[in-house]
């Protein structure tokens, strides 16, 4: 598949006075591995959270698969558009909440892994299957055949993803009892279990040793083979340069450059940005 999977238009996020994202326009090509880099405080994670729906954009639009994430609530619809724009600007604007975006096909991992401590590795992934399974309290309460079938399917799929990240043998272990490296893989598997078209990886490499990093990049490639587009935020330059087919550079909330690894490495603004970081 090809074409753009994710697009942002004038995406802006301000916390009180501090503007973390300032009118960012990007477009991510489907089926590619895109990396977002930038010095600390460039707004990478904010950008992530905004796309994933954890933050509400101050203004701007996010388009996923050609579908906008904007929603106009009924009470806003009541007011004529021009008037609304005049009075409230973007304030009445609502955006699809995070969990709906996951159902649409955006999955993410977290910098601080955030696995579910009260569950085993397998259960964590089964939980990931949530948006791809359909049965509720009622059929669960009465153990209807439907519930049984679904459970079967869920656990099989879960096992599949667990094997994919090579943790099949730890299925029964408590998620938090695993070492950090494997926890990170597990988190990725959990995200994969939601069967996303776009996978957001927040610093997958952080805290891994070189060996684990190699495994990681292999895994990421394998995920790409499945036809899942990937955006990752990463500090580790070698890793990024190794796997990213397209790189977007953010600095203090603005997009300052984008291109292939080689292009980025030559770009003065990027170098300036990073040097600037080193000097102070």
């Amino acid at each position: 598949m090809s074409g753009t999977i994710l697009e942002t238009r004038g995406l802006t996020k301000a916390f009180g006075g501090l503007v973390a994202l300032n009118d960012v326009d990007i477009s991510v090509e489907a089926g590619k591995i895109t990396a977002i880099i930038g010095p600390n405080g460039a707004g990478k994670t904010t950008f992530f959270n905004t796309i994933a729906g954890a933050y509400r954009p101050t203004s701007g639009d996010i388009i996923f698969n050609g579908e906008t994430m904007k929603r106009t609530p009924w009470y806003a619809k009541a007011i004529p558009p021009r008037l609304r724009q005049k009075i409230f600007a973007e304030r009445l604007q609502q955006y699809i909440p995070a969990h709906r975006r996951t159902t649409l096909g955006i999955a993410r991992t977290f910098q601080n892994v955030l696995l579910f401590g009260s569950m085993t590795a397998l259960e964590n992934i089964m939980a990931g299957q949530h948006p791809r399974s359909r049965y509720g309290f009622f059929s669960a309460a009465l153990k209807l055949p439907r519930a049984r079938r679904e459970e079967e399917r869920i656990s099989l799929n879960a096992m599949k993803y667990l094997n994919m990240v090579g943790l099949g043998t730890y299925a029964g272990q408590n998620a938090l009892s695993l070492p950090l490296g494997q926890q990170k893989l597990l988190a990725i598997a959990r995200a994969l279990a939601t069967e996303p078209q776009l996978l957001l990886l927040d610093e997958p490499g952080a805290g891994l040793n070189t060996l684990e990093k190699r495994e990681l990049s292999e895994l990421i490639h394998r995920i790409k083979e499945l036809g899942t587009s990937i955006i990752l935020v990463e500090h580790d330059m070698p890793l990024v340069m190794g796997i990213a087919e397209w790189i977007i550079v953010l600095d203090s909330g603005r997009k300052i450059a984008e291109g292939t690894a080689s292009q980025i490495q030559k770009d003065e603004r990027v170098i300036a940005a990073y040097l600037g970081e080193e000097t102070d």
């Binding site: 954890a54 933050y55 509400r56 955006y95 909440p97 995070a98």
Partner: protein, 316 residues
């Protein structure tokens, strides 16, 4: 309501007189009543605030500290006949010691206990204290009333009247708040407490012993409760089970103040007090003395929800 026969629930019940009109001095009277009750709530609420800020525990035994203060001041002041000042100070000190004991025996020994089980521990402690106080070996079940500090000749203010004891209560509330504020901002220990409140991890990093701080917090809270009990007992009277209701009100006051600063708590307490008494003043429809407590709580809920709304708006 008549039992037995068919039953209708009139929200505008018998107590529905169209006497909404409130004369100026009546208004003042309600205001004063609210103010004085409010400062009682505030005094109790301060204890909650300190402990919560430092330990993130809601100490359900706070009301019992108040009760202890009041009962002790009666035993020492009236039964044992000690001079008033001595009795007052002694009962505050004893209450503070009990607070310390409670922390050391019940709270600190509970390692790796979740917040909720810590709450249960404080509930257990309060049941324990109340139970002991209620036995006929201790104070029994009758309410007691220590002697007022300065007579019981009521004082007139622009057509409204209050007992002199109420002035003591309000005074104590003000004084305690000011001292507490100074303590927290000026002294080293106070600053350390504040640090724990703001960010425990950081506090630990800069070498503050969080356990000692928690102990201090409990002692302070117990002492505050004691003070509250001592000053309010001559006015409101005390019995072994006064603690629970007073505690609840103080709790509300503290949480309206957001468990943050002493001043916020005092404002919260007075707000509740005034609302409740104004409701009595309106005395129409659902705004009657039957529902004074409800309206206090409604205010609380409103404030909580507004706060949460502000939080939620930050997120999606």
């Amino acid at each position: 309501m008549k039992k037995g026969e068919a039953w209708a629930s009139p929200f505008l019940s018998e107590s529905d007189f169209l006497s909404c009109s409130m004369s100026a001095d009546q208004f003042l009277q309600y205001l004063l009543a609210g103010l004085s009750q409010g400062s009682v709530y505030a005094l109790v609420g301060l204890g909650f605030t300190i402990i919560y800020a430092v330990t993130r525990i809601i100490n359900f035994a706070q009301g019992e500290f108040v009760m202890l203060g009041g009962m002790l001041s009666f035993t020492l002041g009236v039964s044992a006949g000690l001079p008033l000042a001595v009795a007052a100070i002694l009962s505050i000190v004893i209450t503070a010691i009990i607070g310390a004991i409670m922390y050391l025996l019940a709270i600190r020994t509970a390692k790796r206990a979740s917040v909720i089980s810590l709450i249960i521990i404080t509930i257990g402690a309060s049941i324990f204290i109340r139970g002991i106080a209620g036995t006929k070996e201790m104070w029994g079940v009758d309410a007691v009333r220590p002697l007022p500090f300065t007579g019981s000749e009521s004082i007139g203010i622009l057509g409204a009247y209050i007992q002199p004891q109420v002035l003591w209560v309000i005074g104590a509330a003000v004084l305690v708040t000011v001292l507490l504020q100074l303590f927290l901002t000026r002294t080293v220990v106070g600053k350390a407490l504040k640090a724990c409140a703001v960010n425990p991890q950081a506090a630990v990093l800069v070498g503050i012993n969080i356990k000692t701080m928690a102990l201090i917090a409990f002692i302070l809270a117990a002492a505050l409760g004691g003070i509250g009990g001592v000053v309010m007992a001559p006015w409101t009277m005390m019995s072994y089970h006064s603690g629970f209701m007073i505690g609840l009100k103080g709790f509300v006051a503290a949480s309206i103040g957001g468990f943050k600063s002493p001043i916020a708590t005092v404002i919260g307490g007075i707000l509740i007090g005034v609302v409740e008494n104004m409701v009595v003043g309106i005395n129409y429809g659902p705004f009657t003395s039957q529902y004074m407590d409800v309206w206090g709580l409604v205010v609380l809920l409103a404030i909580l929800l507004i706060r949460s709304g502000r939080l939620a708006s930050e997120e999606a």
